[in-house]
Symmetry: D3
Subunit: 334 residues, 6 copies
């Protein structure tokens, strides 16, 4: 049976100054489109997987540009609902040495935030689909979106799709209390959970310091106690110097934790690495990789995302494989 | 007594593709800030007039950038209220031969649209002020803003300020019915009205074709019948070929119409020409220009705005004077 | 029956200096992708028509970028053959007043120029298709391509597709003699011929000056004498001043010529206007427009192409309709 | 009593190639404005301090642009004298790994270099002022400027202002002998001296290697022996690898040295870090920070300047405080 | 005998905002190099003529970039003296509809303005040379430069070179009185004079309105009465609408005036057209064109300069010939 | 006797996305020209050495731009043959952390690849020349080019020129077998061989691991056993972290290896470092540097190349000397 992945969420216009400028000195913005679940969809499409993204976007030509940004990489956009007046926007000031990333949202009032349950016909959307993916951002967008996400989960479960969720806690979008309440309703439908310590703390008030276990393994274990997750996957980035970060991943499945090797990275773009990781996990599972290969593949996919500007992970399976599993270096080939 | 002008309205982030690109092909936006009353304030400041702009903007650094864009040209920003979450945005696709200008608004939900009456202390704002200017866009932003504008007019009138209003009808912001109702309440406070045929048709359903008079004079006369305007001023742009437009102005005062000469222009930027005209009218009146000099100065100011990219009219009094009243051409001076 | 259009030809990387610079002073190139039949496909896709483009492109990521440039606007790229080493490139120096457009080709040795007949399975390509479009550039690319185009015509005819051909004579690609020989073999398969005077002179040595008839009508009549064309369509651009051109079109069908109105244009991009015209003709026919509506629609589509930078006509049916048939001007709508 | 800081010096047009290009390959320059004392003024204005900058600039619109660059960040520009013909310019080629920064001055003949004593009315300038700041660059500009700076110091002292001076030795502007002579006349007026080892060596031929003390403390002690400084403050940058520098500061007051923590930085812009440090010192003193808090605040301010392109330190007090005193990292907040 | 042309003057760094921006809104400058005599040298080199440019430039890498800008087009730079500290700079704000060109000079204090007579060894410079060209800007730069130019003329005359001079009056550089005095000393050495009405009025107070003759012919006749010119050549540009200018030329030789045809141009760059005209005149004479061919060639060369951004005329002899003498239009060749 | 160096090979148009973008997201290319032997020529010209580059380029203006790119830095281009239709192109995607450099060639069919032996008159080319340099890329371009290179070597040897060759193995251009065969014919003519381990493995299947000697010394020794090389020089780059590389060089002459110091670099541009090294070796030899000074100079030249974008090493002898032999750091000089 052919795999068909559906991801659901918001795609925004991302505006960032060139050359690490600050907002207060910039006079033009680099414009790309992105958002957690859209990013995962593009990454999967770049891996050659049949993948569709579902959202609601205005009919005007900025909305169309968001659609085209997905279509250019082969994402199926036939289930994007068109309507509403505004597109969500986020402004991004890039981290520069001691100066941290600054994100300013301009997304309340977007078409998807104001979407209604009746906008989405999940029977039609899930026709031929085998997998449903969303992140914790989607139900956080609005009360309606929380309801719609629940409806999507129910429909997906009914149709026998695998469901994956990146917990992706965003404190600027909702409180821990609200996140706890909503995510606790959604998680029972989820098969594959992507979560890291911040998510577990923010949503479920878990405290990894209580245990002697490695933090991510502890959290994964706790999560599987609460919810019927078949797998919990984590990726984490540690600052090792002002110019380098270390990236490592873990997957926890059938009571066992598998750890990837570490990458020491110099980061071009800090956004979307978790979304690329989700795509790596999904790709691995639908291709029946064993747990160790899965965690290496997803970790390498996430590592490469850090080298690509914009939200989208524009890399091929070959490139991920070469980084993850090939001894050969990264010299100029000519 | 020293003149101090206060203008009130919304300043937005304006995003436009470079090089006449369409939205669906652009990947970066030129970013400037602008809006009717802000534009008028900047133009007056560039004329050396003491001028303040009043609005509400978020505290974040995009809001700060809007503030700075005004401050750089010398506008007094001390009465800008800071608060709210979002800044209004408009996307601008530039007219290119047969392809018309395309404006997409992303302004509902902006700080000023959600502003409360209590945000503005008109006693403090109008301290030392001699003139209050707004346009029909300001009360169109939201019901609250209509109320706030009325409160501002009342306070201004009480304090003896001259009040000017550019009718500036925007069909994307409100219906003719609503505009008629709100503007009919505001106009009794207005001394100087800037209006053109579109405004008169859109708001007051006037029909210049009923009369044999020149259209702008007819409308001015009709407006002065309804409201206690001391002057009605109009500027209009006529397409004379695909690359040239003709600009002309009229002012109507004490029952008489005065017409400016015409300029045949090649237009660099279509936005803000009316706002620059308002600044020209205000500058002329506070400098006691006679009606003919007034209409020539304001018309030349508006003409030069068409040569400056962005919303703001970055020209000096000397430059306007030279265009309006000097025989010498525009050869390279070197 | 749902329409499905297939176009066939070469898509190249187009490199042009910014800001009307000359090649000898430029240090960066604007990069877009384009080519006659690809341009027609994109225009049709932007009109909402199901349309596929067929070519051969290298597997490398420049080849992929050409694919993505089509996919982003919704062109079906599933029948693009991947292989070969090089992509065709053309350098474009833009016309600037008295300085003419300069095109330098770097396309010999491209994947499509070296393509083999066995690369294309026309049975599969034409499955569900209703229309086949190519231009005179396609058989001019190489001897193999002339053979492949003939095979495509035969297969299309056999399957009952409508066939359209833009004669598009390119003296830099082949001689009049060779063009005459090859096109004379292809034209018998063609139903709808797009041709202008230069094409008729270059390929068939027709001489409109021999007749008293309007030139385009004369040529159309002559062409229909030689070939079983159901329609001949022409569009022509006349320099009316150093900044303006006049655009007009004619279609000739069932022995009668229909002329469009004229547009006086200021041109942003000189390339692809004929290809946009072809898309206008095809769209009109599959929507059963009458001849006069057809010529107006196609002429307006071609006019708007002149306002869009790049090879592709990024306009919607609504925009073409508004220009062609609506009285309202092109003022800022806001 | 409200603080009002006055800084005095030259503001230049800074021209630098994009993307670390060399002068011999660049074709466009990023244009910003900057200069030691102007930079300090902007940084203080960004900290919310009332601050004015004094200089002389031509009336033309490049001069006006320099004025506007200050005004946009809220610096009081009402005491800038307008006149003269030229603006000082400096060309900046950015350090790139082993290739050092290259600065080319084009500033002799600037309006401020040719300024006369009569250009500045210090009574008027210092009205309401509480603090006067200049650097060793100001008297180095020309003989006239040395005299004018002395006049300013005398007037400031008479009016009871606190006076700070960044020694800022520039070997391209004057010899050690001349610097020694002039600075020895000015330093007796100075309360707060900012100085590092290079300055002490260049101007006063001090030799820190003679002593066992930490170099900066030694120099501070020596300076306080010669001049009646209440505080000497230093900041120094040490190359720790080809991509990282270490930044640390010291203040010496009442016979005691206080050291800040160290920052390991990746540098975006090498210019203006000392000027930002001066602003940090001034801000700390007028806010009555204790010596340890002062040195940490000023050091963090200087650290953040390295992350901002251009001469100006575009950071807020909150941002400096967060870096200097908050445990939380610099993760994306969203 | 092979022709070798020497031109002498100042080459400056030209800084202009992109996209018709004003100085007060621009944040980056397009950087090219240019100056009257350098422009003429580059144009001649592009025509394939052996041509050297003489000036003085600093040794630093901005000076080197000016040298390289000439060398890249094949100008002989072996006689450029290196020394001094500053390069001349001019800021250029481009004419935009009613807004005139604005030039701000930053050239006093440049290496060439401060050059000494001993910097130039005319015997060496004129070795193998056949022609010496300068313009009225060169002696206007400084008193020393007036002396040096006279020395050059004497040396050239002694060696039998043809001498051409473009009067090129610049009111920003010197008064009419001074120009008259200096140019009256230089003109007796000149064989070929390029002059238009502004030059004749500015330097020699000629008044063409006194005569019934065509203005340029009148001036040429008057000039030949005063000085031993073998030819006087003029080019003039007339504004015919806000978007178009008319260009026409005249040469007067042996008592007779020859007029070129007219070009109606849309202008990309207003600078250097006179310098390109000089190159056209010199090229024509050394190739023994008859007067009518000379005036057409030079006029067409000047016309094409208006289509090239920057000071330099980057066109070939073929391109000039095609415009001047070929019937064929300027359609896309492909 | 004055040195005159001739280098021979292909110069290509290099197209690379800005800002570390991937090909699949870029919309404009930075355009420079480069190629191994051209790069060496430019570097030598920047060192003040008389140097000519020989190749074949089309007559069109892209070909001319390649010529101008060399001429601007003073390379003698009088022996470049003009003809053919296409210029070689290479696309460059820059290495970004774990993502490796990606080079796509579009060079088959270039003028030089199709050049004939008769295109080059080596007697004329080598007139006054003292040194001939080429790299292993030149004979790899085509069979003809292998023959032409051999002819050049024979002519050079006959005329007594010193011959240097950078083995520069390129697996994308030819197989090891073919490289072995061709290079074995050419090497007997070579005096100075530049080679690193990859070259020795790729062309001569040498295996440094067989020996206990330092790898580069082993290879140099082996090469001198096979061929009459007077010197073998190597430079190698080792990744020391994701942001830093170590650069070191060795020269082997008269049976002895000399090693340079190491540089730890952060790399701006990965291309052309070997070519810059060759220029450093040649410069050292013609200036009679001793072996240790030679290896330090060439290593420092190569190090600086990593800091310059584009293929060319735009540094002076002074800059190389300062890095190689001066203790002083790389602080801002001002
Ligand atoms: Ca995300
Ligand atoms: Ca996440
Ligand atoms: Ca407006
Ligand atoms: Ca208006
Ligand atoms: Ca085409
Ligand atoms: Ca055509
Ligand atoms: Ca400084
Ligand atoms: Ca300092
Ligand atoms: Ca000139
Ligand atoms: Ca002139
Ligand atoms: Ca190379
Ligand atoms: Ca190599
Ligand atoms: Ni800009
Ligand atoms: Ni910019
Ligand atoms: Ni960009
Ligand atoms: Ni794009
Ligand atoms: Ni820009
Ligand atoms: Ni560039
Ligand atoms: Ni661009
Ligand atoms: Ni550029
Ligand atoms: Ni260049
Ligand atoms: Ni550029
Ligand atoms: Ni820029
Ligand atoms: Ni910029
Ligand atoms: Ni700015
Ligand atoms: Ni540019
Ligand atoms: Ni870009
Ligand atoms: Ni672009
Ligand atoms: Ni761009
Ligand atoms: Ni660029």
């Amino acid at each position: 049976m052919k795999n068909k992945i559906i991801t659901f969420g918001e795609i925004m216009l991302r505006l960032s100054p060139e050359n690490n400028e600050r907002f207060t000195q910039c006079h033009e913005f680099e414009a790309v489109y992105g958002g957690g679940e859209a990013n995962t969809a593009v990454s999967l499409a770049n891996f050659g997987v049949d993948c569709g993204f579902v959202t609601k976007l205005p009919e005007h030509s900025i909305g169309q540009s968001a659609v085209n940004s997905l279509r250019q990489y082969g994402v199926d956009i036939s289930n994007i609902v068109r309507g509403g007046d505004q597109i969500g926007i986020y402004f991004l000031e890039k981290k520069t040495s001691q100066r941290p990333t600054n994100v300013i949202y301009n997304r309340s009032g977007s078409a998807i935030a104001l979407a209604e349950e009746s906008d989405f016909d999940w029977d039609k959307i899930f026709k031929d689909a085998t997998w449903f993916h969303f992140s914790g951002i989607t139900p956080a967008i609005s009360d309606n979106m929380a309801k719609i996400t629940l409806a999507a989960c129910k429909a997906a479960k009914e149709k026998g799709l695998t469901i994956s969720c990146d917990l992706n806690y965003r404190s600027k979008l909702w409180s821990s209390e609200k996140a706890n309440k909503v995510m606790s309703e959604l998680c029972p439908y989820v098969d594959i959970c992507i979560a890291n310590e911040d998510d577990a703390v923010g949503i479920f008030s878990m405290d990894a310091s209580k245990s002697d276990k490695e933090k991510n393994a502890y959290i994964a274990e706790e999560l599987t106690k609460r919810f019927p997750f078949k797998m919990v996957a984590s990726v984490w980035r540690t600052e090792t110097s002002i110019t380098t970060f270390k990236l490592q991943s873990m997957i926890y499945t059938e009571g066992k934790a598998y750890y990837s090797k570490e990458y020491f990275m110099n980061i071009l773009d800090y956004i979307g690495a978790g979304d690329a990781y989700c795509a790596g996990i999904i790709y691995s599972i639908i291709n029946n990789f064993d747990p160790q290969k899965t965690v290496e593949f997803a970790n390498a996919a996430s590592c490469l995302k850090h080298t690509v500007s914009g939200d989208f992970n524009l890399v091929t399976v070959d490139e991920v494989m070469k980084l993850a599993f090939s001894a050969s270096g990264n010299e100029v080939s000519r």
